[in-house]
């Protein structure tokens, strides 16, 4: 029983970070109707950002998030304004291919600048895990979880209460009606893309102390991200959150109760089934 609870808790902790990455991707899809294959590289950049913070700036990675979020936002603005904006009119498939190229470019650029060595971040306060109610909770993951919750709450407030946030939601549901209502679709798009990028980056910063860093980590992350976003329903923020948490828990339980290797395959099989039979997501809230 204890193992079961331990699995669930670990799954939820990691899942919260998957959820953040997923929210970033789904928000971009909702407004732009594009699948951003370079999303994983944004997470990777966040992870390296955290690494640089502790290695060179001697700043705790969790504090450095304050620096990296705005930088990531600006990078997102840059990528959309100078690269993607010209490609999106050419169609979903062309954009998919373009972002695939971008993904390869960024990952290999990092590979060239640094090296391909696997890196880890060791934090002095993180050696011993916390043990609430006898459940082992690694400190970095706990902090990450807490910050992920804060960021998600902030995001909700932003989407629900601010004009820009409402503009994003409106454009996501009905782009033409939103434009007719006076929403500046171009500005909304640029903000959405930058927001999605910043979320991915932030998730990377938070994840860095708990995962191995290497330049091509984006590849497997983006694959998991697609699973989350499709399960939760494309374009749905609550769906992505639920999908992320679900994936975290399923992976965690799978590692304990199912033989370790095949657990990743289960995710993809479910992904295929949902794509084929329930394209609007497990909860039926997605767009196709």
């Amino acid at each position: 029983m204890e193992t079961f609870v331990q699995s669930i808790v670990s799954g939820l902790l990691t899942g919260s970070l998957y959820a953040m990455i997923g929210v970033g991707l789904t928000v971009i899809f909702g407004v732009m109707r594009i699948i951003n294959m370079a999303h994983g590289e944004m997470v990777m950049l966040g992870m390296y950002g955290a690494f640089l913070s502790i290695s060179f700036l001697k700043v705790d990675p969790f504090l450095s998030i304050v620096l990296w979020i705005p930088i990531a936002f600006l990078i997102g603005v840059f990528i959309y304004r100078f690269l993607l904006k010209n490609i999106v009119p050419a169609g979903e498939l062309n954009t998919l291919l373009y972002t695939a190229g971008l993904s390869l470019f960024i990952a290999n650029l990092v590979l060239l600048i640094g090296t391909g060595d696997y890196r880890t971040i060791k934090l002095k306060y993180a050696i011993m895990p916390l043990r609430p109610f006898g459940i082992s909770v690694p400190i970095p993951l706990a902090i990450a979880f807490g910050m992920a919750i804060l960021i998600t709450v902030a995001l909700y407030w932003f989407l629900a209460r601010t004009d820009t946030g409402r503009a994003i939601r409106a454009t996501s549901q009905e782009p033409e009606a939103a434009a007719l209502m006076g929403v500046n679709v171009d500005r909304t798009t640029i903000i959405t893309f930058a927001l999605g990028t910043a979320l991915a980056c932030a998730a990377g910063v938070l994840l860095a102390p708990s995962l191995y860093l290497y330049p091509t980590v984006g590849e497997i992350l983006v694959a998991k991200c697609f699973v989350i976003v499709v399960l939760g329903g494309l374009g749905s923020v609550p769906g992505a959150i639920a999908g992320g948490l679900l994936l975290g828990v399923v992976e965690s339980l799978g590692a304990v109760y199912v033989s370790v290797p095949y657990k990743d395959a289960i995710g993809f099989v479910i992904f295929l089934l949902v794509l084929l039979f329930r394209p609007s997501g497990l909860f039926g809230v997605g767009k196709s």
Partner: protein, 314 residues
């Protein structure tokens, strides 16, 4: 005029190892030709029918493992195993096609990615069959004579001629496809799938046929890969990276054209391998960059643009 150029090209193809015999260059040419086959394979589906697959390494891997297993466990020589590998790949394309073609556009692309990953994970875990992550290794290739002489497998040249023949076959197959009903129907599907249905085209059947032909060549290339590199494991032959590289070669070279994959392979592989020699890592950066340039400025590919330019000259 065109026939003279083609004849010259074929002559050069077979004379090349005599002209440039340094091992690095022969290896480079082998890689260019192997990727031509892979690019041509992807082009048959992605170029002609417009269905973008991100999971083509499934077929490469299927061919590779078939060839390896037939040789290591049953003693069947690779030159028989390679075409059989192609057939196995073509066969598994049938159920994959029937499942994935229910989806369109980017969703089809994602589903092929999922299928490829599932198969990679199966190969990784089914150790009794595939040896799992340890992989399969060929230590010695069988003794065989050709034209009275025993083939020296330590020399790269015999491999060159094998892949040259396969590459020629792939290009000819693409050409034949473009001239027949299958090619025409594929283009219709690429343009407007509903209109295609309206004029009596069974779009599922056509796409599955294209996928099968495409898978055959990817499988054959996979079998060659196994024979040339002599070692395969699931992460090498079922990887997303390989799938993505195939897409890039076909797109950058020129979709729906016959020579596009060859041009794409020449450009990308030459730069890539040379880059790799100098910098050792990160050679795919060039692939990423070329893809972005192609989509933005050369959507018809390098060869597609050259053709237009040459056409305008006359």
């Amino acid at each position: 005029m065109k026939k003279i150029i083609i004849a010259l090209a074929i002559f050069l193809l077979f004379a090349a190892p005599w002209i440039v015999s340094a091992p690095f260059f022969v290896h480079l040419m082998i890689m260019v030709l192997m990727w031509t086959v892979l690019g041509a394979s992807w082009n048959i589906l992605g170029g002609f029918t417009g269905q973008v697959s991100f999971g083509h390494s499934t077929f490469l891997g299927a061919g590779a493992y078939t060839t390896m297993i037939l040789f290591l466990k049953l003693g069947i020589a690779p030159w028989y195993g390679i075409p059989i590998g192609g057939l196995v790949a073509a066969l598994i394309a049938l159920p994959i096609g029937f499942i994935c073609f229910r989806l369109r556009g980017p969703y089809f692309a994602l589903s092929t990615l999922a299928v490829a990953e599932i198969i990679r994970l199966i190969a990784l875990n089914w150790e009794s069959f595939t040896n799992g992550p340890v992989g399969l290794l060929i230590t010695t290739l069988p003794d065989v004579t050709f034209g009275g002489r025993s083939i020296d497998w330590e020399n790269k040249v015999p491999f060159y001629y094998i892949i040259a023949v396969i590459a020629l076959a792939a290009i000819v197959a693409t050409y034949i496809m473009s001239r027949t009903r299958l090619g025409a129907y594929s283009l219709a599907i690429r343009e407007d799938i509903d209109s295609a249905e309206a004029i009596g085209i069974n779009t599922v059947q056509t796409r599955v046929a294209a996928l099968s032909l495409s898978a055959f060549f990817a499988g054959v290339a996979g079998g060659f890969y196994a024979m040339y590199f002599r070692y395969i494991d699931p992460d090498a032959v079922f990887s997303i990276a390989l799938s993505v590289e195939m897409v890039f070669i076909a797109v950058v070279g020129g979709l729906t054209t016959v020579a596009g994959p060859l041009i794409g392979a020449i450009v990308l592989v030459t730069f890539g391998e040379t880059f790799r020699q100098i910098f050792l890592v990160g050679h795919l950066i060039f692939y990423g960059l070329m893809m972005m340039i192609a989509i933005r400025y050369l959507p018809e590919g390098i060869w597609g643009r050259l053709r237009l330019w040459l056409g305008a000259q006359h």
